[in-house]
């Protein structure tokens, strides 16, 4: 399965890349904002994307909508510090497949990825 990480933090993108690679999945893209994410998504066509919400240029909600328009089957795991219920529900409403709240452990990320891949 091809995967991509979208987050304005290089530290988080690096961590996600390592977890995905250790799991034996193919890491194909790393984007620091929504604009980069859309460009890389069109080029590499990942099937699973981790998505931050608070980012410059284009936030994660708008980016998630755009990626789902391009490929309605892509699984998007929102990975965000925004811990309020309204944001979580909005992310799910627009089509995100899961929501992982920051801070998170590698184990929590692995569990969330497993859950998405079992669907």
């Amino acid at each position: 399965m091809k995967c991509m990480a979208v987050d304005d933090s290089n530290v988080i993108r690096t961590m996600v890349e390592k977890v995905i690679a250790d799991k034996g999945l193919e890491f194909v893209g790393s984007a620091k904002n929504g604009v980069e994410a859309i460009s890389q998504f069109k080029e590499f066509r990942p099937q699973l994307v981790t998505m931050d919400l608070t980012m410059p240029l284009m936030d994660g909600i708008e980016t998630t909508k755009s990626l789902l328009e391009i490929d309605p089957d892509v699984k998007i795991l929102v990975v965000s510090a925004l811990a309020d219920k309204k944001t979580l529900l909005e992310a799910i409403k627009i089509g995100a497949a899961g929501y992982l709240c920051k801070p998170f452990t590698e184990h929590a990320l692995l569990d969330a990825l497993d859950e998405l891949m079992e669907e």
Partner: protein
């Protein structure tokens, strides 16, 4: 700010360190200050707050703490760029987690980060400035809250 509101940020700090490390942080009692410059460490990240609330939330840390945290993330590149990235991410995480209690009208900017350059930090003196002191692995960091709550 009342004690309950300050506790939201204290809980956020404790949750951050408990999640990333087996060593919990010792979080001291928040206190009021007039001038924040003496509480700023080498690396500082801050989040502008807008919406129902206005102000700034800072996380400021020495290099030693950030080195340990980068190791917790399994990130081997300990460049200054990644230190700056991490202080911004921590400020964002503590602020974002506060929305669990303060709601979605506690609106966050993207992080702004800096190394040194303390003279460039300007806060709104009309809002109270609280310091939440953090001791972790014998090093001191601070969360500084300058909000009109």
């Amino acid at each position: 700010m009342n004690n309950e509101q300050l506790q939201v940020f204290v809980d956020g700090v404790m949750n951050y360190f408990e999640t990333l490390s087996s060593t919990p942080a010792q979080v001291g009692t928040p206190f009021l200050i007039d001038d924040m410059n003496e509480y700023l460490e080498e690396y500082t990240g801050f989040i502008g707050i807008s919406g129902k609330y206005q102000g700034i939330v800072f996380f400021t840390s020495p290099k030693a703490i950030l080195l340990h945290l980068l190791a917790s993330y399994n990130v081997k590149d300990v460049s200054s760029d990644n230190m700056l990235d991490l202080v911004g991410e921590i400020a964002n995480t503590i602020s974002g987690n506060a929305r669990r209690t303060l709601g979605d009208e506690f609106m966050l900017s993207v992080p702004v980060v800096m190394r040194g350059e303390h003279s460039k930090v300007k806060v709104t003196k009309t809002f109270e400035i609280y310091v939440i002191p953090i001791i972790w692995r014998q090093h001191r960091a601070n969360v500084i809250i300058n909000l009109n709550i």
